[in-house]
Each structure stands twice: as C-alpha cells, then as structure tokens.
C-alpha cells in the first residue's frame, strides 16, 4: 500500500463517525441551530468583511488608505506620461543607477523612460546582477481596494524574484485593474488564467516588514524596503 492510500484510508475510517456542525457549542451543550449558508460561506461572508467601496472613486480612496497605512507609496495620476514623470522624480531623489524589469508593455516602457541600464528578467538573468539593481519595475494583475493589495503572478511580474529581490519594487498599473475586494481579485485571477495558472500568485501589501524585535515595525526585512504603486 502506498503512503497516499494509507493516509487516505485512515482519514476515511476516521470520518465514518460524523462531527457536529460548527458553532454547536454556542448553545452550551444543547443542539445549536446550524446556520446554513445559501451558497458557499465565502460568498455570504463577503458582506461581512471590511468594505472595499462601491464606486471607482471610493475604491481609490480605500486603496490609498489601506496601502499607505502599510507604507506603500501610492501615486494615482491622470496619464501614463505623468506616471513616468513621477518615476523619473523618484529616480533622481534615490539616485538609481540600474533597473530591472520584464518584457511587458507598460513595465518595459516605464524602465526605458528612465534612461538607465536595464535587465529584463524574462530574457534570463544573473541573480547577483538582479540583486544589485536599485529597483525592480513590474506589472501586476489586480489592485485590491479593500486591503491595499497588489496582486502579481510570475507571468505578470517578470518571474518570482523581480518583485522581491531589488530593494525597491515599483508596480505599474492601469485604473481598470482596481477591484473592490479580495473576492473580486480572486475572480479576476481565475478569469485571467482559467486553469493554466502560473506557478506563483502573490498578494503583496506594503514593502517587506518585520516586528520580530520587540514588536517594533521595521521595513525591508528581506524583501524590498520600498513599494511604489503607480496607477493611471
């Protein structure tokens, strides 16, 4: 018998005796009513979660509040040109010397606009070279208003390392990528990829952080110290 059959067999045997429904103990030993959800609990629960905003404007406000609370630098501008001007401004203040990005329309255009040496991760890259870049510029799949989260995959963001190895991660996004909440974000991911999922999907909220020393917040524990989201 294989390990799989053995464990699945043990599980099946254990499950022959049914368990009471959750929340049964609320009635202090008595038989509590089983709140049956019509449909999957996660759908019903959507209305109970932190709100994400109904209109586009509300969603921008929510995204800004949630993402800046987690130290994301969120810049929402009118056009792509304005976004690239912002980017040049950050380049100058931080003194960037090299950029990493990937071959996708917006990110590579953004990187090219900076006039610096560029690495494209999807053309094959050297880890040390990527590590020594000042900034990684990537695309994304979705922005989540509810939580201030950026959703990337290794397909939409130039692999697994680009969004986490350089000290500054810049995400370029367009306004149609902003959705209300996590439920909508997962729906968008499922719509985009169907069943051919990329091997990594990452929900990123803020730069890398830790509170492991006396619960004091420090940014840039292992991943980027800065996260900038440019949206137009």
């Amino acid at each position: 018998m294989t390990g799989r059959e053995k464990i699945l067999g043990r599980i099946r045997e254990a499950l022959t005796v049914p368990a009471p429904h959750p929340g049964a103990h609320d009635a202090h030993g008595g038989q509590a009513p089983h709140t049956s959800f019509k449909g999957r609990p996660v759908h019903v629960a959507r209305g109970w979660m932190p709100p994400g905003g109904d209109t586009f404007e509300e969603q921008v406000v929510r995204f800004r509040a949630a993402s800046t609370e987690l130290k994301t630098d969120f810049r929402f501008v009118g056009s792509r040109d304005e976004a690239f001007t912002e980017l040049a401004r950050i380049r100058d203040t931080e003194g960037w010397k090299s950029v990493a990005t990937h071959r996708a329309e917006q990110p590579s255009a953004a990187a090219a606009s900076l006039g610096l040496p560029v690495i494209h991760t999807d053309e094959g890259y050297d880890v040390d070279a990527l590590e020594s870049c000042d900034v990684g510029i990537s695309g994304c799949d979705v922005l989540v208003a509810q939580t201030g989260t950026v959703v990337v995959t290794n397909r939409s963001a130039g692999g697994r390392a680009l969004s986490v190895l350089p000290p500054h991660h810049v995400v370029v996004a367009t306004r149609d990528q902003l959705v209300r909440d996590l439920t909508a974000a997962f729906a968008r991911v499922q719509e985009t990829y169907g069943t051919g999922y990329p091997s990594m999907i990452s929900f990123i909220t803020g730069p890398s952080r830790t509170g492991d020393i006396e619960r004091i917040l420090v940014l840039g524990a292992h991943g980027p110290k800065k996260l900038t989201v440019l949206c137009w």
Binding site: P22, G23, P41, W48, P50, G124, T147, S199, T210, R215
Partner: protein, 464 residues
C-alpha cells in the same frame, strides 16, 4: 528522569516570578490587542465572518479525503512531486532523501511549525547539512539554540539588548540598540544564503484543493525568496491545512491577519502551484510537497474534538490566554503551546503524558472567544481532563470522592464533619503549607477560604 509535568511545574514556578519576562510579554500583547481590536472593528460583522470561516473549515475537514486527493492530483498534474508522510520519522526520511539525491549542501528555511514538530533541523544538521532559518524571529532563536517561543512571534521573549548581544557574539556585528539596525544585520547575513542555498524549505498556511496550490502567509518576504532562488523547493504541510476553493482565501487571509497579528492583511500571501513551468523565467526546477499526518488522523477520529483540526495557527488563543501570559511559551515543552497546544498535544503525543496541560487552565474561555474559526477550545480542555480521568483513574481522587459521597449522604455525619472542620480551623493555620497540611497543593499558592460563621442550613433553620 523527570516527567513532563514536573518540568512544566518547575519552569512555570520560575517564569511566573520573572518580572522582566512579564513586562515584555505584557507590552507586546497589549500592542497586539489594541491593533487587533481596531482591525476587527473594520469588519462589517466579525462574528458572522467567524461562523463562515468555521463552516468552511468544517466542510474541508469533514471531506478531507476528497479534498486532499484533489489537492494532490492537481499538484502532480503540474509536475510537483507529492509525498505522503505517516509520521515524523517518515517525513524526515523523505526530506533527507530529496536533499541527498540533489547533492545539496546548504538549505534555507522559511518558518514552518510542522518542521519544528518533526525536529527537522536537528535531523538535517546531524546529517551534515547547513540549515539556516530565514524568518528573523526564527533566525534569532536558531542562533540561541532554542525552540520558538510563540507560533507566530518566535522571539517575543527577547529584548533588543538580548538580540544585540547575541548578534555580536554569533555574527561579530557592531553593537546597536536600534531594531532597524539589528534587522539590517540579519538581512545582510541572510542575503548570501538565499543566493547560495541549494534547497529551500517552507511550511504552508493553506492547501487549496480546487487549484492544487499551497498558500504561504508572511511579512518579511523570506518565504518569497526561499521559493524563488534555490533550485529545489520543498514544502512540508499538515494534512489539515486544506481549503476547498481558491476564493476561500478571500475570507481566510484577512481573518488570519486580523486574529493573529492585528493586521488588515499580511504583507505577502503567496500561492505556489508547482515548479517553474515552461515559459517562466525563474523558480525551482523541482518542487516537492510533503503531506504530514503524524497522528492528525487520530484527532480526526474523535468527532468530539475534530474541530481542533480547523486551526489555522493564528496564535490568537495564545495571545489572550492568562496561562500563556504567566508561564510563557517555553514552559509548555511542546511545539504548539497555549490553549491550542494544550488541546492537541495530548492527541499528538499521548494523553497521559500531556494531560497536565489541559489541567493548567482557568477555563475562562478567552481562547474560544478569540479563535477565528470558532474551535471549542476550553471545552476541549475539559474533555481531555475527562478522558484522562477515565483512562487512568487516580486512586486518591476516587477515594476522596467516595468519602465525600459517603459523608454528604449522611446528614448527621456531615454535621459532625462540619463542626470538626470548624474546630480544627485554627490548627490548619499552624500547619499551613507544611508537609503536615493535607491541602498543601492548594495552600502552597492560595489561601484556603475561611469557614463561614453560619452554614446555609443553620441560616435556613433560623429563618423558619
């Protein structure tokens, strides 16, 4: 040889008196509580969301065979090798086998309680491999050769000065009191390790059946790097971590972050569904998922406490537990401490050896109230006590109850005993907490309440 209960009592006695420790834990947990309450308030309805989470986990655990098979099939379809480990020894063997076959030398790990559970680091180090923990807290306790203090905050018991001293000694770094500086020292020490490691090992917070993915929750990005750079990636995950659908994460990610750390959502929540796929530019060439039973199926076979497998290891129950706050995380002597540890350890490691954990509870129910998936924690502690008493009844306890029943059923005898008690009460004060005191276990740390001037019966008779 001392028993687990003696160790527990001895350590608890030391830690509860350690004012520095109390201060540290209290400050940390006060911060946690304020943040958590604020984030809970951002929910439109936290209590109902808990119910939804409990229902989802109930579905997952009570159809575990179906979901687990689906998870494994989907994973394998994309080139992942799925291994099934019945116990800790098997899991260690599987992982060591993979490392050996890759001719690996150095291993980078991101936080995994399952790895603690099977003592993986010990096994790898004994086999001659270099193992580095990458989560900052885990890195710190690894340098101290200590197990994690808390399942979410591993280095919660240390001050910046402790860490500074440790880094100076172990890493030869310059002295500093700034948490930021200390973090950067660790960052620099670990950067090279990611790049040179041959194998990356991670844990997992969820395993998604529908899409065949694992999901890792972290703040530091260390798991992201562990899953990006080494050529081989291994994930060790308990079989109970299954969720039916990808979209279920829309509920669980915020709940885990809110209950566990008072965050809206954790910094990185990443789903991995296989090794590097055709057309992808990086990621591991090989991906192994090791599914760990290690007596979880025995807990599953107990329908009364099956819901303990709903646990998402958020640590909320530890954070609110008066026992945890007093005795501290290391006193438990278990991988999983706090209320959830007291509930599951007797199942995972033997009821009679670990029943004392279920006994050391005030039964206040704070854990049950804090739990985002509504596990009936404090009643499970009672159930463990009951099961332990049935399994191995204590002679003296039974004698005491027989005697009590005998006396209470005979009014004359009862009155006599009461009077005798009243008369000997001053005597008790003299022998209090000495070997002569029959109530010593109680009076050692507590006052025996004084006998009332008048019993209820006397009062009743007077009124009639």
């Amino acid at each position: 040889m001392t028993t687990h209960v003696q160790d527990f009592l001895a350590q608890a006695r030391v830690v509860t008196r350690d004012l520095r420790h109390r201060g540290l834990i209290q400050t940390a947990l006060r911060k946690y509580e304020t943040a958590r309450d604020r984030k809970k308030a951002a929910f439109n309805d936290w209590q109902s969301a808990r119910q939804a989470a409990a229902e989802t986990k109930w579905d997952a655990i009570n159809h575990l065979d179906t979901y687990l098979a689906e998870f494994a099939d989907k994973m394998e379809a994309r080139g992942t090798q799925v291994h099934w480990a019945g116990n800790a020894a098997e899991a260690r063997e599987i992982i060591l086998g993979i490392i050996r076959s890759k001719g690996a030398r150095s291993i980078i790990k991101s936080k995994a309680m399952t790895a603690e559970e099977i003592h993986l680091n010990d096994a790898m180090e004994k086999a001659g491999y270099e193992v580095v923990e990458s989560d900052l807290g885990e890195f710190i306790v690894q340098l101290r050769h200590e197990p994690p203090y808390h399942i979410v905050f591993p280095a919660m018991h240390l001050t910046r000065d402790d860490i500074n001293e440790l880094f100076q000694k172990e890493l030869g770094s310059a002295s500093t009191r700034e948490p930021e500086e200390l973090t950067m020292i660790a960052r620099r020490a670990l950067r090279r390790k990611y790049i040179t490691a041959d194998v990356g090992i991670t844990g997992a917070n969820f395993a998604i059946a529908e899409t065949g993915m694992i999901s890792i929750t972290e703040n530091e990005g260390n798991a992201r790097l562990t899953a990006a750079l080494p050529k081989t990636m291994i994930t060790l995950v308990g079989i109970e971590k299954v969720l039916p659908k990808l979209e279920d994460l829309a509920l669980f990610l915020p709940m885990l972050a809110t209950a566990g750390a008072g965050q809206t959502i954790t910094g990185y929540n990443t789903m991995y569904g296989g090794p590097r796929q055709p057309g992808e530019c990086d990621g591991p060439e090989e991906y192994h998922v090791v599914l760990l039973d290690n007596r979880r199926t025995e807990l599953l076979a107990d329908p009364e406490q099956r819901d303990a497998l709903h646990c998402i290891r958020c640590g909320a129950c530890l954070n609110v537990c008066p026992i945890f706050k007093n005795v501290g995380g290391h006193t438990y002597g278990t991988t999983y401490s706090g209320p959830v540890g007291s509930v599951i350890t007797p199942h995972l490691r033997g009821l009679q050896d670990w029943k004392h954990l279920s006994g050391s509870s005030s039964l206040c129910g704070a854990c049950t109230e804090a739990c985002p998936v509504k596990i009936d924690l404090h009643h499970h502690l009672l159930r463990n006590r009951r099961n332990a008493a049935f399994g191995e009844p204590s002679f003296f306890e039974r004698l005491a109850y027989r005697l009590f029943a005998f006396v209470i059923n005979r009014p004359g005898l009862y009155r006599f005993a009461k009077e005798a008690g009243r008369l000997t009460e001053p005597l008790q004060k003299l022998i209090r907490n000495t070997p002569l005191d029959p109530a010593r276990a109680w009076t050692g740390s507590r006052d025996l309440p004084p006998m009332p001037e008048q019993s209820f019966k006397e009062w009743w008779e007077e009124r009639r």
